[in-house]
């Protein structure tokens, strides 16, 4: 078993030497330090380039050795062949962590692989830990460290991610921004010459600022401890992993992509299930699952109460539940009696609870409350919780003067009504906190509010019932693992 790696300094460095600072705006040596400065890094940044005296308004140093004071972390973007000797310089300076952004290592062939071995061997001499090479960088909310290639500024949150693909990982950060989902730490693991996915997983597992772990993986090294590490971590917090290279075609692409060996998908599926890892098979699903796991408590079981404003969507949702192993139990007498007081006499009297086209907010909130408080369900799916978009404010009004006036008045009422959406969302979150059950909102269609639903109200919403059901199902799977006995083997 590998020794555990303490990555506190990597994610919270007090000072960074940036080797390869460049004034060419098209080079990573310009873009990455710009992102670090723009992100208002809390520590010191020391750009290194013998040909520059200053860089983006701060002093530039001719070498790592010339930097005054101590340095915790170095980031290198210079060509691959220059890297091993730079490691010597970092070692002499007493630097503990080096992020090698430069590519042209093992991913390009035997020559690069040889250079990579040399890099690791030299780092070992000085006790230096390497991220990469061929990485897109790291992010850490606590120290406002934005050492990434693209200019993404992630929202701050409790989710931490490692990714064997830089661009897939970074896309998750962008999607997180669009959906109000915050990150705590992120690392693009690159070629994993030294630090590997299992090191990041173990570290995030013990990291108190991390509540949910996300991973994108293509290969797992033979003899890897990943599963043993995952078994331990998954008992403490959810680990969601997207495994690329599942099929023969994808696998081939993976082998030439990250220099990684793709495993047999069936074996991997079983192994993930044993370890308690929540396996995700679509890119969209990863962010959908990340949302619900980071915002909601894990349901106690698989029983779902469904609330809908219209019958058809309730049917679709109930079907999706059944297909994904979720149970939609019938309503007991006392809940029917409770709902009778809220709904018109012709309501469905079953689960899904069909509000029979009632669009008012009060009854919707009361029904949602009745379902969440019903002790025979473990979670609630509420369809049409948002009433945004039901009135087209942009449409041109035509017709008689009287008609125009009425329509304009109706619009004002609707606009007023729309602003009350926040009341519904806050009520929803309150129900989640009070009952300990996920209450998932389905908006039915694209809508501008996904970001604020989660960021400002702590409510998880999806555009379709299918996506809501899949996300819930993953939580139910994780519950199953949490409830399984801990057996010594």
């Amino acid at each position: 078993m590998r020794t555990k790696r303490d990555l506190d300094i990597l994610f919270n460095p007090r000072s960074i030497a940036f080797i390869g600072a460049s004034q060419n705006p098209a080079k990573w040596g310009f873009i990455i330090p710009l992102n670090i400065l723009k992100g208002q890094f809390k520590g010191e940044l020391y750009p290194v380039n013998p040909r520059l005296e200053s860089f983006l308004g701060i002093p530039c140093y001719p070498s790592v050795g010339a930097i005054p004071g101590s340095v915790d972390l170095a980031i290198i973007t210079t060509p691959a062949k220059t890297v091993p000797s730079l490691i010597d310089e970092c070692g002499a300076k007493g630097i503990r962590f080096v992020i090698v952004v430069s590519s042209n290592f093992s991913e390009t062939g035997p020559e690069g692989a040889e250079l990579e071995r040399e890099l690791v061997e030299r780092a070992g001499r000085y006790g230096i830990t390497i991220v990469g090479p061929n990485t897109m960088g790291i992010y850490s909310a606590a120290s406002r460290l934005n050492a990434l290639m693209p200019p993404v500024v992630p929202l701050e949150g409790r989710l931490s991610m490692f990714s064997q693909s830089g661009n897939v990982g970074v896309q998750m950060l962008y999607w997180g921004n669009n959906k109000g989902l915050g990150f705590n730490k992120f690392v693009s693991s690159g070629n994993e010459a030294d630090l590997t996915c299992e090191d990041y997983l173990a570290y995030f597992g013990d990291d108190e600022a991390t509540e949910v772990i996300l991973g994108y993986m293509e290969g797992i090294d033979p003899g890897s401890d990943l599963i043993r590490v995952a078994r331990r971590v998954c008992r403490k917090k959810p680990v969601l992993i997207f495994k690329g290279g599942r099929t023969a075609t994808g696998g081939k692409a993976a082998a030439s992509h990250s220099g990684a060996m793709a495993g047999s998908s069936r074996v991997l599926k079983g192994v993930f299930r044993q370890a308690g890892i929540v396996e995700i098979a679509e890119s969209q699903g990863l962010i959908d699952a990340a949302k619900i796991f980071s915002a909601y408590p894990i349901p106690k079981g698989n029983r779902v109460g469904i609330l809908t404003r219209g019958g058809g969507w309730g049917v679709i949702t109930a079907d999706a539940c059944e297909e994904h192993g979720l149970v939609v139990p019938p309503l007991p007498e006392e809940i029917i009696r409770r709902l009778d007081k809220i709904l018109p006499p012709y309501w469905s009297r079953g689960n899904p609870v069909d509000m029979a086209a009632n669009i008012l907010l009060e009854p919707f909130m009361e029904c949602m409350e009745a379902l969440a408080e019903w002790d025979e369900v473990d979670s609630v799916i509420a369809l049409g919780g948002s009433i945004q978009g039901i009135f087209d404010f942009e449409a041109k009004v035509e017709g008689t003067k009287e008609l125009k006036e009425v329509i304009i008045l109706a619009r004002e009422v609707a606009r007023e009504y729309t602003t009350q959406n926040d009341v519904v969302l806050d009520h929803t979150r309150d129900l989640v906190d009070r009952t300990g059950k996920p209450v998932v909102v389905v908006t039915l269609g694209d809508y501008e509010g996904f970001k604020s639903d989660l960021r400002d109200h702590g409510v998880v919403s999806y555009p379709t019932p299918e996506r809501a059901v899949k996300a819930l199902k993953r939580m139910v799977e994780y519950r199953r693992f949490l409830d399984s006995p801990v057996e010594e083997i």
Binding site: P222, I227, M261, G263, R266, V267, K269, V271, R273, Q274
Partner: protein
């Protein structure tokens, strides 16, 4: 000397059906009652001991696809049938059969598969799923890496699409999951304990009155591991 080393000494890459089952039985896996016969008279004697009906199979590690080569004689109910079947097997023009395996005939009502493979990343992995001819057609199997906990073994049974096959149906009792779990855990343990065992196929694992029994088995040896 154990079964594996003896087979390697004879230069075999796989154990014969009988040796495979003897090896599995040594580890507590339920197998068919069976014995090798080298003569017609011996076959009849063994059949009497096991009890009719019996099955006769050509024995030897070189006979891997017995059905295709007409090297299996099923459902033999009398001494005469055993004698005739013995003659047919030893007289098969396509194969040189010197020994015949006399085996308890298990009808069973369901066929499952249990196996061991070695994954380059995770090492020994246990396979479980739908057996018989359906293994290859439906590929309804699940894997777990060894060692398996009891929960892993039970979870595997839930992990195949045809999981209902384990429940009671058409008057037949449900499969004894306790015994099945023991088998799955044991297969994983064999993978961890014996580097010489490369793969195992138990197919079919038949269900008789709810109890699983290994009806056919194949243990593949790792001749590279043997050289080390």
């Amino acid at each position: 000397m154990n079964i594996l080393e003896e087979a390697l000494k004879r230069g075999e890459k796989t154990l014969s059906e009988n040796d495979s089952k003897r090896f599995l039985a040594e580890h507590g896996i339920p197998v068919t009652k069976e014995k090798i016969a080298t003569s017609e008279g011996e076959a009849v004697k063994i059949a009497g001991e096991i009890g009719y009906p019996v099955v006769l199979k050509a024995s030897g590690s070189e006979f891997a696809h017995k059905t295709e080569m007409n090297l299996i004689e099923l459902d033999l109910r009398t001494e005469t049938e055993v004698r005739e079947a013995f003659k047919r097997l030893t007289g098969n023009p396509k194969a040189k059969v010197e020994e015949v395996l006399v085996q308890q005939m298990i009808k069973g009502d369901r066929e499952l598969v249990v196996g061991l493979t070695r994954d380059p990343q995770f090492g020994p992995c246990v396979m479980f799923g739908l057996g018989g001819i359906f293994t290859e057609i439906l590929e309804d199997v699940a894997f777990r890496v060894a060692p398996l906990t009891r929960w892993d073994a039970y979870d595997m049974m839930e992990d195949i699409k045809a999981k209902k096959i384990l429940e009671a149906f058409r008057g037949k009792p449900a499969v004894d999951r306790e015994v099945l779990a023991d088998i799955l855990i044991t297969i994983g343990k064999i993978g961890l304990d014996y580097d010489l065992v490369k793969e195992i196929d138990v197919n079919p694992l038949k269900i008789l009155n709810g109890k699983p029994v290994a009806v056919d088995a194949l243990v593949v040896l790792d001749t590279d591991a043997a050289k080390q």
